[in-house]
């Protein structure tokens, strides 16, 4: 039996967000819902999403301005992506991989790149790196490659010659 996916299938994202964090601020942008909640209870979030059959699209680790690591959980809520951002406190975040196995490889990869520890995992084996490699490849090499790379050409060079105007 072949069925057709529903067009524009969506869910009440506002109700979902209110259930997750009553009073928490969020906004709907061109590319989806965004919320920055530093004290987000990620395990409660994962439990709620699993109960609602919301799929974890992926997670993004990205360095914050103060040297901390921002971790964004991207959820598929139908017509939109729901992007919930929190911060890894002292490089640690609770794991959600025991609740949602979709997070297993992603947490391992974030550890590979930023040495973030996902607390509660039995093991966190490298995913992209090898067992002998130290975690935190991107963090350790954050200053590498920018100045010496030929990528710094074109617009930057022209802008410098023009006195900084772009």
């Amino acid at each position: 039996m072949v069925r057709t996916a529903l067009k524009g299938k969506t869910m009440d994202v506002d109700a979902l967000l209110k259930e997750l964090n009553p009073g928490g601020a969020y906004e709907l942008r061109r590319d989806g819902y965004w919320a920055v909640w530093p004290d987000l209870d990620v395990r409660a979030m994962a439990e709620l999403m699993r109960a609602r059959e919301v799929r974890l699209s992926t997670m993004t680790g990205t360095p914050g301005a103060d040297g901390s690591l921002r971790v964004i959980y991207h959820w598929d809520v139908g017509a939109h992506l729901l992007n919930l951002e929190t911060t890894a406190i002292e490089g640690r975040l609770p794991t959600i991989s025991d609740i949602l196995p979709a997070a297993d490889w992603i947490e391992r990869e974030i550890r590979d790149y930023y040495a973030t520890e996902f607390v509660g995992r039995e093991t966190t084996e490298p995913l992209m790196l090898r067992e002998t490699d130290a975690p935190g490849l991107f963090s350790r090499t954050s200053d590498v490659g920018h100045q010496t790379d030929p990528a710094v050409t074109a617009r930057t060079t022209i802008a410098a010659k023009d006195g900084g105007s772009r």
Binding site: V2, R3, G8, K9, R55, P63, I72, F138, T141, V152
Partner: protein, 357 residues
Amino acid sequence: MSKIPLGPFHPALEEPYKIEVTCTGETISDAEITVGFNFRGIEWLAERKNYTQGIALLERVCGICSNVHTMMFCRAVESIGEIEVPERAKYIRVVMAEAERLHSHLLWAGVACNLIGFETLFMTCFSLREQVMDLLESISGNRVNYAMNRPGGVNRDITDPASVLAAVRAIADATAKQLIPIMTTDPTVRARCAGVGILTREDAIAYGAVGPMARASGVTTDIRKSAPYEAYGQLSFDVPVLPDGDVYARIVVRALEILESCKIIEQAIEMMPVGPIAGGLFPTVPVGEACVRIEAPRGEVVYYMASNGTDMPARVRVRTPTFANMPTARVMAIGQGLSDLALIQASIDPCYSCTDR
């Protein structure tokens, strides 16, 4: 009980990947997957290349769905910069995306036929795939790495729509008459694949499976429908979904998707408006961030991009479909015979180059 390692290099797979299965007799009781053998640090590199170079770099994430990755990179830039894409360019992007889906599905179908020992159908699939490659070459000038996308549009117009239509109709006709009947009704295919490697709907959602993998397990998600982008909102097409969750269901879903892609290309060519195909010079990307996604041949691709206003992105995150789908191999393999393993992992339509980036 015995442990059997397969990979990272062996004849059944042309990309490096390792799965170590624990067997009781010939029945698989556990499986451990190892990837990363083709890790190139593309996300790291993308943060050290300017946006123009980034397009060429991201096109190398995957040899089959290269167009997807340049489109994603450009869509992320367009989202941050609030750049509008001309209508004609949106339709051209759709044509390229669906031709790439045809290429991917036919390549996979051929490999799957080879694995189940159906050499005649393998040759049929690859013959059709050649026609798709010719079509892609006629539009872009290239058989792979098409270099079609740029922020704000596309680089090349479709100058001979009649030949594209004729090519797609020939592919659709051959698919409907030769490929679909065999793949969906042949007793050999059914006997080898039905009931093998089941992924339940619940597991598909919990593991975050995407694309034909998920739709063969009853998950009704297709980004082209649920969150239409480019010109998909103006086009009429069906999304095949099956509840069975086995290898056979994945074959049927992908086979039917080939016909839907042909249908989409025909409509896109006929509805494509006259007009420009791109904006002006490469835009300056302002400070900001965006997370975009599209439905690639193997399923949803997600890109996160952050810009600090310089000519290089501050962060580029790439989540490919196989990265989401591959972990399901463990649950699909447990309880199955060892001889089914190659078929199960092939039914994912895996791309380890994408996964490792």
